[in-house]
Amino acid sequence: MAKLFEYEAKRIFSENGIPTPKGVFVKKAADLKDVQTDFKEMAIKVQVLTGGRGKSGGVAFADNQESLLKVGEELINKEIKGRQPQGLLIEEKIDIEKEYYAGIIIDDAYKAPVLIFSTEGGINVEQNSQSQEEKNVRLPVNVIEGIKEYQIRNFVRKIEKDSELIIKISSVIHKLYQIFRKYDALEAEINPLVLTRDRKILAVDARIEIDDAAVSRHPELNLIPFDRDKKMERSELACYEITSKDYRGTWNHIQMIPEAELKASKNKYIGYLPVGGGESMLSMDALTQAGLNIANYADTSGSPPASKVYRAAKIILLQPNIVGFYFITCIANQRLDITARGLIKAINEVKPEYPVFIRIAGNMDEKAQELIKKFAGNWPSQLHLFGREVDENYCANRMAEIVNDYIANREDA
């Protein structure tokens, strides 16, 4: 999810020798009046991290300063597929002769990066790639050996016969591959790669996605591995800040229901803290089938320290208006007594009045349960503690009963 905006990807392209149109990036509408260009016509492109931007009205044109201001202001306030633009890229409008597609993705089938080239680029590339296979070529790359420019020329030559263009396009794809490797990308794409009427090859759009796990290797990009054009919740920011500095174990947190929405809604959501990635998904399905709504997704596994579990649990327990807290482990091999200590500290501090459900099973689960019982006497809410004797479906259904009772009793009171 560490995607770069087009203007960021194009900056990398330019630094690495891939030609792009001349352009200016503006962050907000107020900056539009300061844009000074000698472009006869301008393409104004919203900066969002989603495909299909052109079809959704995220690209417009202007031929003078006045229309730039008018169109730019409209565009920057226009939501594109539920995302708020994070700026505008104003570029010289290009006189296009032909559109190509060039991209590199990680292909699970090859377990390698695969170069993709098509003589049919542009906004309908997905449809064209399925219906016109003779216009698309793919080439898996051995990452140890890399790839030479002549190999790319042979690859491009299969569908492009103009020798001058073969050389120019191959050079761009070779540089794109070098960028792909240098920045630990999962995807690098140029669509369209354009042949201009004066026979230049230009990257008119640019997409780069960095591997989440490699983000910390690229501080120069100032990235965070989240959807950057969505507003991040403070819980997600906290999780990122903590986990980016503390690599012991894992902790993921996604605020599925924003805090503001939780504040406005009552009797609907539960806080959710599982252990184990598979368990997280399995139990989420089980809870949903039991009729419960979950405020957040989380996962703390790989033997995190108790301090990390504490932080994860505290953030989840503090979600406004939740009607229950649900903690569940798979048959975990991490030391659950340590996990339990993190959980205990968070519950001790937050003192939730809603029901607390804990199913703790696996390595040192008996000690973990013993510890929890020792502290549970001081908790205002009733504890529902289970071990390996119950499965996920039982737990989810039991949680639904507990939450419904809690809501009914609270309404009666």
Binding site: S307, R311, I315, G342
Partner: protein, 88 residues
């Protein structure tokens, strides 16, 4: 009189006045990393940098002190954006 030292991501504070009268010395026994040693009837550490390296933030010291000791040991693990809630 306090003993305070940083861990990798937080802080541990001992109120040595409470420790002085603590019979259990539960924190010393609970610490699997042997961070604490007894000196003049109160827990002490070899040095702050050594304690920081050794501590695995398992919270056993705090919770055993609460259960068996004089409640003189506290840990603090800040959560960015949640300063008010953590302090409370």
């Amino acid at each position: 009189m306090k003993l305070e030292f940083d861990t990798m991501t937080g802080t541990i504070v001992l109120d040595l006045k409470a420790c002085k009268t603590c019979e259990s010395k539960a924190c010393v026994k609970a610490c699997e990393q042997d961070i604490f040693k007894m000196e003049n009837e109160i827990p002490s550490i070899e040095g702050k940098s050594i304690a920081k390296k050794k501590c695995v933030e398992c919270l056993a010291c705090e919770q055993e002190c609460f259960l068996l000791g004089n409640k003189g040991l506290a840990t603090c693990f800040p959560i960015p954006g949640y300063e008010i809630e953590v302090n409370n």
